[in-house]
């Protein structure tokens, strides 16, 4: 029996190199407005990571990311803009957001997962509509259609990012931490249990998995990550308004996850950045943007359902196969590996 391969695969090393180059080069070529857009892509990827745990691992389609982003964003906006009459330190606010979103996501998850499958998905759609209508109309807490402005920027240990380039470095670190956390989930019992629920709920039960609670845990993780993204958004853009948390926005996160490869940790990052940057790169074709977008999604589902990561994976496999058959052709005297 072949020994289990070690954790570090050549592809991980390549990814690391690519990331290092990315982080080194980008601030040199990108500034100001386009850096801001890239930062937004990084912020969104945090929410998309949460979505990949729910959808990629757990197989549950949830639109709720924007509701929790709003929770994080408005909570931060209220505490850090002085509009309620007091100021809270932004680092403390981040911690509070994490704690509160854990509780809220857990409770809402407990309720929503009384429904299963498609009904659960509709439940999340309902949740999004409810939260959005509050975010849009309830002036005392959410500023109504005008939103909330003058949100303070992030301040850790007395240091604040002064421009979007510095924000970039902060966000890269945070996204890296989140990505590592999510990848570790994928390889742990929780990840396996979620995959079991996704692929075969009955078998999962007979393997001792508490399906209901495991789903709720995944939902909580997704909610916390989305709230974190929302909080960072508020501090980065220093302005929060309800059109960030519409149903349409919710679908864009799902597309980010699917484009990159919903089950691939690196793919989620790539997908989020691409979907966020594409409208900017296609500036000239503003009129056709929706059309391109729509056609692109259809093509994606037909030809690349596993996203870019799936494409890369298939590419890697076909290269391996070609190398293997070339090796066999060149050494016919060698004994072939027993399968």
């Amino acid at each position: 029996m072949k020994k289990m391969k070690s954790y570090i695969k050549p592809s991980s090393f390549l990814i690391f190199i690519a990331l290092a180059i990315f982080v080194a080069l980008v601030p040199a070529v990108n500034q100001g407005y386009s850096m801001m857009i890239l930062n937004l892509g990084l912020i969104y990827s945090i929410a998309t990571y949460g979505l990949s745990v729910m959808l990629g691992l757990g197989g549950q389609l949830s639109f709720a990311a924007v509701s929790f982003m709003g929770l994080g964003a408005y909570f931060t906006a209220n505490l850090c803009s002085g509009r309620l009459g007091f100021w809270v330190d932004t680092s403390l606010t981040l911690v509070l957001v994490l704690i509160i979103s854990t509780v809220v996501a857990f409770l809402i998850g407990m309720i929503l997962f009384r429904l299963s499958g498609t009904y659960f998905t509709f439940g999340t759609i309902g949740l999004v509509q409810v939260t959005w209508s509050f975010y849009l109309s309830y002036k005392p807490l959410f500023g109504g259609p005008d939103g909330i402005s003058n949100v303070a920027t992030l301040r850790i240990f007395g240091w604040s990012p002064v421009d979007y380039n510095q924000w970039f470095y902060v966000l890269v670190v945070i996204v890296l931490i989140v990505a590592i956390l999510v990848e570790r989930i994928r390889r742990s019992q929780l990840g396996r249990s979620l995959s079991a629920i996704r692929d075969n709920e009955i078998a999962a039960q007979t393997l001792g998995i508490n399906v209901y609670m495991t789903k709720v845990i995944a939902f909580t993780i997704a909610g916390v990550l989305a709230a974190l993204a929302g909080s960072l958004y508020a501090m980065h853009s220093q302005f929060v308004s309800s059109d960030m948390f519409t149903f349409e926005r919710a679908t864009s996160y799902i597309i980010m996850a699917m484009l990159g490869g919903v089950n691939n940790t690196f793919g989620v990052f790539v997908g989020s950045v691409l979907v966020t940057m594409l409208p900017e790169w296609l500036r000239g074709m503003q009129r056709y943007l929706q059309l391109i977008y729509g056609v692109g999604v259809i093509l994606l589902m037909v030809f690349m359902p596993m996203g870019l990561a799936g494409l890369a994976g298939n590419f890697g496999k076909s290269i391996k196969r070609k190398l293997r058959s070339a090796a066999v052709k060149n050494a016919p005297a060698e004994k072939e590996d027993a399968k």
Partner: protein, 255 residues
């Protein structure tokens, strides 16, 4: 010694169909117990009742003399009920290693948090190697489960179940789709489970070869009712059993 599994007057109906009618039998630890009957008799329903996918309408089910009739199925799995399915239920998009680790997860039961922080459980590779010695194929851990043949997947499901360290294994038609060599391997594996680990095995099978060779005790079900119980020699001569499988000669009884 207490039976590891005991059914007491278990009844289950689905609308007008009586799937289980007053079913009573027990399985001892380390015993391979056959569950046979014609198709549609209610064997798989009994398996589902025991593993908790269905709840009995009346009657009780005891695991090691603990009443589990109302315990949810994931708890029953944690209490030691292992299960394989007629059509293997695996994670389609995961590697073989992840699929089998699900079994070890259940054996370890250390919870999500401890597993996340890397606490190592039982020695997975060693155990797996030992079990795979009974089977005639090898595989690459990282391969997709879909790369294996049907027969190999069926055998692997038994291995996964054994990795969960169960007290009793419910095995549903393991021989279906296997060639003779593979059937022999499965029999050796089940014997190993029963004799070495004292695991009770409840075995649904249509292959009389396997049943007669490997089972110490057999219960025969027809239309949800127990029509005979006993050892292989007694069962093969039992009139009710012969009638259920082969039918009654109407002419002979009329003349």
């Amino acid at each position: 010694m207490n039976p590891i599994l005991r059914l007491d007057k278990v009844c289950k109906r689905f609308g007008g169909v009586i799937a289980a009618d007053d079913v009573t039998f027990s399985v001892m630890p380390g015993e391979i117990h056959g569950l046979i009957g014609p198709n549609g008799a209610g064997k798989s329903t009994l398996m589902n009742l025991i593993s908790g996918i269905y709840i009995p309408d009346s009657g009780s089910i005891f695991l090691d003399e603990k009443d589990i009739s109302n315990v949810p199925s994931h708890m029953r799995a944690r209490m030691g009920i292992g299960r394989t399915f007629q059509t293997p239920r695996f994670l389609q998009r995961s590697s073989i290693r992840d699929n089998l680790l699900l079994g070890t997860d259940l054996a370890n039961q250390m919870g999500y948090l401890k597993s996340y922080f890397g606490k190592k459980g039982s020695n997975f590779e060693e155990e797996l190697d030992r079990l795979m010695k009974y089977l005639d194929f090898t595989f690459d851990w990282e391969e997709d489960i879909n790369g294996l043949a049907y027969g190999q997947r069926k055998q692997l499901e038994i291995v996964r179940s054994m990795l969960t360290h169960p007290k009793i294994m419910l095995v549903d038609e393991p021989a279906a789709g296997l060639n003779n060599k593979e059937i022999d391997d499965v029999m050796a594996l089940l014997n190993f489970a029963a004799k070495q680990f004292g695991i009770g095995v409840l075995l649904i099978e249509h292959s009389m070869d396997m049943i007669m060779n490997i089972c110490e005790d057999i219960v025969v079900i027809c239309f949800g009712k127990v029509i005979a119980m006993g050892g292989p020699s007694k069962i093969s001569c039992d009139e009710a059993v012969i009638e259920a499988y082969l039918g009654r000669d109407l002419d002979a009884s009329n003349s």
